[in-house]
Symmetry: C2
Subunit: 345 residues, 2 copies
DNA sequence: TTGTAAGCGTTATCAC
DNA sequence: GTGATAACGCTTACAA
């Protein structure tokens, strides 16, 4: 093993391995890639590779094979634990497939998302998992002509022609309302995120679905849209509701909003869940961290991420397969923040 | 722009651009890379590139130029918000430098960390920022011979010969103890992480420093090491303390442990901070999410990450510079979980 | 099975 | 300044 001045080993090439094993580079390549080789030469190659500590050069390999061994994950906000859990799931499956994970945080900026789609032409990844926050016609267009396979986590028109994994967040929001009603709440408010976003839109519909299902009248004073899906936005949106109405329960469009809502409720002198029950959405790790622990609608974030990875690799392996739309069910996870108020008989 | 069957545009190469601009590939390359070119040919090239939507192939470029435009970040646990905030900071600075971020979660596994160091020989990144959880002699050895520049966030022997960014967590832990003492607490317990880890070791020393500084006697019944730096481990470790002692305050070696401690304290009937005050470390986003909000020692996680990126790029630009050791100061951020108990006069 | 050789798409080194 | 041309390190036809 040759040494450079600073003690770092110089990277041996396949040619060196071949020379040491007294075979051609082609044979060396085949041997190392598990292509049928005479046991004897196989051993020689393996041994030589071992001796010099051979490791294939990623750039050279991908230039030739047109596979980078990398996939990308682009999501709106690293600070939101939902995306962290998706990232976690993706990273694990990617590792199993010997793929590296390239991370992009888009800051919920549509232009940024489009830039990433266009950047695929650099061919630095084999595919992309994208979580768009709101979808423009341009998205659809760029997706349709995307250079590498893309899987979208979220709702997107079928004309985009890409695989998608969707949560049933509309039904999920309905579950939250029904749960609160069943536990004796009759003035159920809704702290939404921006209505223009895909999840904001769907969850709003689900909230109204839920009200209808339990025969509660819609009261717009109980509904507020936060500026984004963050804690602070949830806090101020909740304060706006409290300034004009008296909810005995709040459904929040995600867990971060719910945490903000809890802070606002308490600062207004409410005890949770005695005075106001709170239900979040996403069932993220935050649910264990709040006090009381947070009831939340599980939208299967890790599951969606896993399905997305599977779809992505399937499409990488077979670009011709027809686009799939996978749905992941929503499920309510009850914790302390929505405890029973009075017994229903 | 030629179209393939499925509507995706075929990636145009530099040769095509050159042909359209009626210049050589060499000139085209120079023009696009901002190397001195006659204005006329420059325009022709730029125009041709624009017309076909030329984008350079990342693999080809890195194979030739030996720069990948990627850096890697390897940390123990995606689930810990400290690392999320580091990731966030790194991603932003990397983007400014037009570098992509490759993510590795090591699961606090030393073997995994070593594997990543060796993997650098694949040359898929220009450098690595590593957060090791505990450092073996093998780490030092592998770091010394690492193929690409590595910056370590954490403490590591100088013989490793790499740039490091260190938090002053020993002093930070001391700050926590002094704060609690100043607010009237006299039975200050310590929920540590594993003592074998670098942070676990340093924070333990800092805790004892703090006790000495305020003339409190060391009481080992008040000290417990959790199995790892997680919420659940913090909860059970705290329960062990409560089974044998009556602390009126707990310093916790990170925020996740503190959240676990709060849960344990409450399940044992304690009110926070009235009965027991709690101080965490890291000053992560969790501090805003707990109730009451969590006093925490800020160890400058984002700042450390930024410094690490700067060091990394500086070394990539000049591999010969001598290794730097950067220190980031600790600072206490007081919130509700450690409110004044009695007035000291 | 194995070796020869042709690229993959760039950038860098030359002469001109 | 520009144009041939030689790498970069690897995979993969194609021949042998």
């Amino acid at each position: 093993m040759t040494e450079t001045a600073d003690g770092a080993a110089a990277a041996p090439t396949l040619a060196e391995v071949a020379r040491l094993a007294k075979v051609s580079v082609a044979s060396a390549s085949r041997a190392l890639n598990g292509i049928k080789t005479q046991p004897e030469t196989l051993n020689q190659v393996l041994e030589a590779a071992e001796r010099v500590g051979y490791v294939p050069n990623a750039s050279a390999r991908s230039l030739r094979s047109k596979r980078t061994g990398q996939i990308a994950f682009a999501m709106p906000d690293i600070g939101n634990p939902v995306y962290t859990s998706m990232m976690h799931a993706i990273q694990e499956l990617a590792r199993e497939r010997e793929s590296r994970l390239v991370l992009h945080s888009t800051g919920a900026d549509a232009a940024e998302e489009l830039a990433i789609l266009r950047d695929l032409r650099r061919r630095f990844v084999d595919g992309l998992i994208l979580v768009p926050i709101n979808v423009t016609p341009q998205h659809v267009e760029e997706l349709a002509r995307a250079y590498a396979p893309v899987v979208v986590i979220g709702h997107i028109p079928a004309t985009a022609g890409v695989d998608t994994v969707e949560a049933d967040s509309r039904r999920g929001a309905g579950l939250g309302v029904k749960h609160l009603h069943a536990h004796g709440r009759r003035h159920i408010g809704f702290v939404n995120g921006p209505v223009k976003t895909t999840p904001g839109h769907a969850r709003r519909l689900g909230y109204f679905d839920g009200l209808r299902a339990v025969n509660l009248k819609r009261d717009d004073r109980l509904v507020e849209a936060a500026e984004d899906f963050t804690l602070e936005a949830g806090r101020t949106a909740t304060l706006r509701i409290l300034a004009r109405a008296h909810p005995d329960a709040l459904l929040c469009a995600n867990d971060l909003l719910a945490v903000g809502a809890m802070a606002a409720l308490r600062s207004a002198g409410n005890e949770i869940p005695r005075d106001v029950a709170v239900v979040g959405m996403d069932n993220s790790d935050l649910t264990h961290i709040t006090w009381p622990t947070l009831t939340s609608v599980d939208l299967g974030s890790a599951e969606r991420a896993r399905r997305a990875v599977e779809l992505l690799f399937a499409r990488i392996d077979d670009p011709e397969r027809s686009p799939q739309r996978v749905h992941v069910a929503a499920e309510l996870v009850v914790r302390a923040s929505s405890a029973q108020r009075k017994v229903m008989t």
